[in-house]
């Protein structure tokens, strides 16, 4: 347990962010309510620097630090950069939304940064306890952010549900981890992998533990049948928080799944086991997500169910158990985050003082009110539906390819069939925007930064769809650099 100064290098980004959070928390005390832009600016700067520090290490060989509790690898650095950038964009979208609702306060930004820190710890964990620490830090920050609109009964209800179900999931996760500890005698991820590989572990206990761990992962992703919290929390939380919950944590959840399932429990005999479970989770998510989304009239709830179905797709990549499949899943999660940012960002952009543009009908006639945003939203919707030439198509293509390559053609057919059902409700959004008459006529005039970001976001969906090669190559090489198949 000897500490060495070189241990700090792989964790430089995390350490910087922690210091920044502490400093900003104190500075915020001295910033008056009219000048919260200072806190906002500092937050963005802190996240940007964190992202840069993390990004500089992408492409390095994996190193572990802090006596093997922490790992710095390409997968982690890439996802950390992604998390920081996602939250930065998310905060930029929500600035105009927060102010009139009394949430434009230092706490909001500090909690958001702590959530980012939690995700970063999750992403880099090489030990079950560190993993759990990250999960809880992320969870607690998000619970309180959901409840930040104190006077809203719906938000409070959402926060309670989120907290109770989140605690339940954490409990299951811990229980599963303890069983795995019992079976292998270790909590360190590489040690567990070795023990399983050498056959030293009691396989009955191990499998029981696996079931609980998969349940915990299912909850983090919001995959059916552990999806109950998703629609209520998405709906109840202030939209700015929904955006944060709906995007960046999925990147962390992906790393979470990779660390637990692939790195710790990735031995041949266990892959066969969790593949079956993930098939069930994935099919259930595709069914529930796509079918239930049709019945929604609230845009946030619809997007919540759409998230569930996307997570079903993502799990298809993970369950293939090949490097290619993991690369596909990682690509999928990045694409999903890009689309989620755009979709929730659009709700924020259209919201006004005291008016939440969160019903589907609020989108009516958007093409006549603002053709450009309608076009951006059209791109995002078609991308979510997986229609080329948008990026969503490639995400689906690559995941399906991973599934077909292990011989699960039927699963690909099921996924394709349900994405057809999914296409219907995405089309309905396009229909509302383009074919219906507007119900409201006030202008949509977001700030300059939002305008630029939203345009870039929409165009990225299209441009990456035309040139998907680079992002795909980055994801695949990050996986190849970081993950060692036993």
């Amino acid at each position: 347990m000897e500490f060495s100064i070189t241990d700090l290098m792989p964790a430089a980004a995390d350490i910087f962010l922690l210091c920044a959070v502490s400093v900003i928390l104190i500075i915020d005390l001295f910033v008056s309510d009219q000048r919260k832009i200072v806190t906002y600016g500092l937050t963005q700067a802190a996240l940007l620097i964190t992202a840069i520090i993390a990004a500089r290490s992408i492409g390095t060989e994996p190193v572990s630090a802090f006596s093997g509790m922490f790992v710095g690898d390409a997968l982690g650095y890439f996802l950390k950069t992604g998390v920081c950038l996602t939250v930065m964009v998310g905060l930029a979208y929500s600035r105009a939304y927060l102010a009139p609702r009394g949430m434009y306060r230092g706490e909001y930004f500090v909690l958001a940064m702590l959530a980012v820190l939690g995700m970063m710890v999750m992403i880099s964990a090489n030990h079950f306890l560190v993993l759990y620490l990250g999960v809880e830090l992320l969870g607690l920050s998000l619970y309180s952010m959901v409840a930040l609109a104190r006077d809203s009964a719906r938000s409070t209800e959402g926060a309670m549900k989120y907290f109770v179900l989140g605690a339940l999931a954490s409990g299951m996760l811990l229980y599963g981890m303890s069983m795995i500890y019992g079976a292998t005698g270790s909590l360190g991820i590489p040690e567990i992998a070795d023990a399983v590989q050498q056959g030293n572990a009691n396989s009955t206990i191990l499998k029981f533990g696996l079931v609980f761990v998969v349940a915990g992962i299912g909850f983090k992703f919001g995959a059916a049948p552990f999806h109950m919290w998703v629609p209520d929390v998405y709906h109840g939380a202030p939209t700015a928080v929904t955006l944060l919950i709906g995007t960046a944590p999925k990147l962390a959840a992906f790393a979470f799944a990779m660390r637990l399932l692939v790195e710790a429990l990735g031995a041949e005999q266990l892959v066969v086991e969790w593949r079956q479970m993930l098939v069930l989770l994935s099919v259930a998510s595709l069914v529930i997500g796509n079918v239930a989304a049709i019945a929604q009239t609230n845009l946030k709830r619809m997007l919540a169910y759409s998230t569930i179905s996307h997570m079903g797709f993502l799990l298809l990549g993970v369950l293939s158990g090949t490097l290619e499949g993991y690369g596909a899943a990682m690509f999928y999660v990045c694409v999903y985050v890009l689309m989620g940012l755009g979709a929730f960002g659009m709700i924020l952009l259209m919201s006004r003082d005291g008016f939440e543009a969160e019903e589907l009908d609020d989108l009516k006639g958007l093409n006549q009110r603002n053709p450009w945003y309608a076009f951006v939203m059209l791109l995002i919707m078609f991308s979510m539906a997986g229609v080329p030439p948008t990026i969503g198509f490639w995400a689906k293509l690559y995941v399906l390819q991973a599934v077909v390559s292990i011989g699960y053609v039927w699963l690909a057919v099921v996924a394709a069939a349900f994405s057809l059902i999914g296409a219907f409700y995405y089309l309905r959004v396009v229909k509302l925007m383009y074919f219906d008459e507007p119900q409201r006529d006030e202008r949509i005039e977001p700030g300059f930064d939002c305008r630029v970001l939203m345009s870039a976001n929409g165009l990225a969906v299209l441009a990456l769809g035309m040139m998907p090669g680079l992002l795909l190559a980055v994801c695949v090489s990050a996986i190849h650099l970081s993950v060692r198949l036993p």
Partner: protein, 493 residues
């Protein structure tokens, strides 16, 4: 040709024009949008001409090939190339785009730039489908066409347009998702290649061939559309604006037939041969049964839509009898149907713009008020009925000859179209155009103007030219059709 890639130009020039049109923004600049769109579509047609002049009619295999890596992780290439069959369809597409832009000149008054841009985008994408030699690229273009068409039907369509647009989209997407799975399967089976030419050489066991054929069939049969998955077409046609109907009938339906020729037949030849009787049966059902359905329509657009399905039955029949005459006939029928049905929709559009009714019973005696129009309409009606001397005759005749070579009864059933086709088209024509002036609104009709004469005149020339002198078309097709049939005749088991 150094530095000039004609196929890429044909694909991307209209799309760039579309972006330029979109940049004109709101309807204040509608006139500018129209002129840019016209310039873009005419330029799109002009750049397609070098394909025709530079095409080597005696060379089998793909020409004007362009190959560049696109998504290297998945070994997907930007791989283009055409043979005689694609060449004709590309030319048809570029020509039709010009017509559509002119036809929408005055009729479309709201969101003009979006309308014109959608058609230009569509034109570029469909050229992409016709020239893609990489399955992923093919699929991307094939699916992407849905988006502009969905918007066209939904925004500028008739009263029931939303239902029609969504039905159109979901129906066609349903078919193509299965194709996507089949494409991924073939990618794995071929050891990681999306190139169609690699797949042509790939041996595949029969059971897999059958499944792949069914998956392809799901997409292409819906697109053609074949009986009994045709029901989206009458809805889409009736609700679409005139330009939408023209493009739908003239080009989009051909994507399905083209898919059969480019993918199904050469990739899974054994399954295609084995299942051909089923496809032929469905084709004949379309020819005969849908012909009868067309007879009882009261709505002009619906009647032409059903006639389209019936004529496309001829195309699939010609493809699946595996006979050189039949296949050539099928392709010529595709081109001819593009002109004729497009022209008929334009004619209905001319009437609809004036009367805002598509119902046959609202008309009567139009010839008394619109003699020039009546003459054009007559020509196209005759071509639709397959009158010798028009393009409609050539394709149908060749397919019937081909069918006769294979099976007498096929030919007999197919030949009934000469009766039904004449019956429904000419009966409609008689009710609309001849007789006494039916009512005051007909009495108030004005004959077509210069712009409409230009549009209909251009098509009329094409229809007559192909009808009287089809040799240039068959010259282009001969080698391509021959080599395709040779390829299909060799088992890949």
């Amino acid at each position: 040709m150094f530095g000039f890639s004609p196929l890429s130009t044909v694909i991307w020039l209209p799309m760039l024009a579309a972006v330029a049109v979109l940049l004109t923004g709101s309807d204040k600049n509608a006139a500018l949008a129209r002129w840019i769109a016209l310039a873009g579509s005419v330029a799109g047609f002009l750049v397609a001409l070098p394909l025709w002049t530079g095409f080597d009619r005696f060379m089998a295999g793909m020409q004007f090939v362009e190959l560049a890596p696109w998504v290297e992780t998945l070994n997907i290439n930007y791989y283009l190339g055409i043979d005689g069959i694609s060449l004709l369809l590309i030319l048809l597409n570029c020509f039709t785009t010009v017509l559509v832009v002119i036809a929408g000149w005055q009729v479309i008054q709201v969101r003009v730039s979006q309308y014109m841009a959608a058609f230009l985008l569509l034109s570029g994408m469909m050229n992409g489908v016709f020239s893609a030699l990489d399955a992923a690229l093919f699929y991307v273009f094939f699916e992407a066409t849905l988006i502009p068409m969905f918007v066209i039907i939904g925004i500028w369509g008739g009263s029931n347009r939303v239902y029609a647009a969504i039905k159109f989209f979901l129906y066609t997407l349903a078919g193509s998702l299965l194709t996507l799975v089949a494409i991924i399967y073939l990618y794995n089976a071929s050891g990681g290649s999306f190139s169609l030419l690699d797949w042509y050489a790939l041996p595949i066991p029969f059971a897999a061939q059958a499944l792949v054929f069914v998956a392809f069939f799901a997409a292409f049969a819906v697109k053609v559309p074949m009986w009994p998955v045709h029901t989206w077409l009458p809805d889409a046609h009736v609700e679409a604006p005139t330009g939408g109907s023209v493009v739908l009938a003239a080009i989009m339906l051909k994507l399905g037939a083209y898919g059969f020729i480019r993918l199904s037949l050469p990739i899974v030849p054994d399954a295609s041969q084995y299942l051909a009787p089923v496809v032929i049966g469905l084709s004949l059902a379309a020819v005969v049964y849908i012909g009868l359905v067309a007879l009882v329509q009261t709505d002009m657009k619906k009647l032409i839509a059903y006639s389209s399905i019936s004529h496309m039955g001829f195309v699939t029949l010609g493809i699946f009898i595996f006979d050189a005459h039949g296949l050539q006939g099928a392709v010529i029928q595709m081109v001819s149907h593009g002109f004729v049905s497009g022209a008929l929709f334009l004619c209905v559009g001319v009437l609809y713009d004036r009367m805002h009714s598509r119902s046959i019973s609202d008309y009567g005696g139009v010839a008394n008020r619109m003699p020039v129009f009546a003459a054009f309409f007559m020509l196209f009606a005759m071509a639709n009925a397959g009158l010798p001397g028009t393009s409609g005759f050539v394709g149908e005749f060749l397919v019937i000859i081909g069918a006769m070579n294979v099976n007498f009864w096929y030919a007999l059933a197919a030949a009934t179209t000469l009766i039904f086709g004449a019956a429904y088209t000419l009966w409609m024509y008689k009710r609309v155009v001849f007789g006494a002036v039916a009512n005051d609104r007909v009495a108030a009709l004005k004959d077509i103007g210069k712009r409409e004469i230009l549009v209909l005149g251009l098509v009329a020339i094409a229809v007559l030219l192909i009808g009287v002198y089809p040799l240039p078309l068959t010259e282009v097709l001969n080698v391509s059709v021959g080599s395709l049939l040779e390829h299909v005749a060799v088992s890949k088991l």
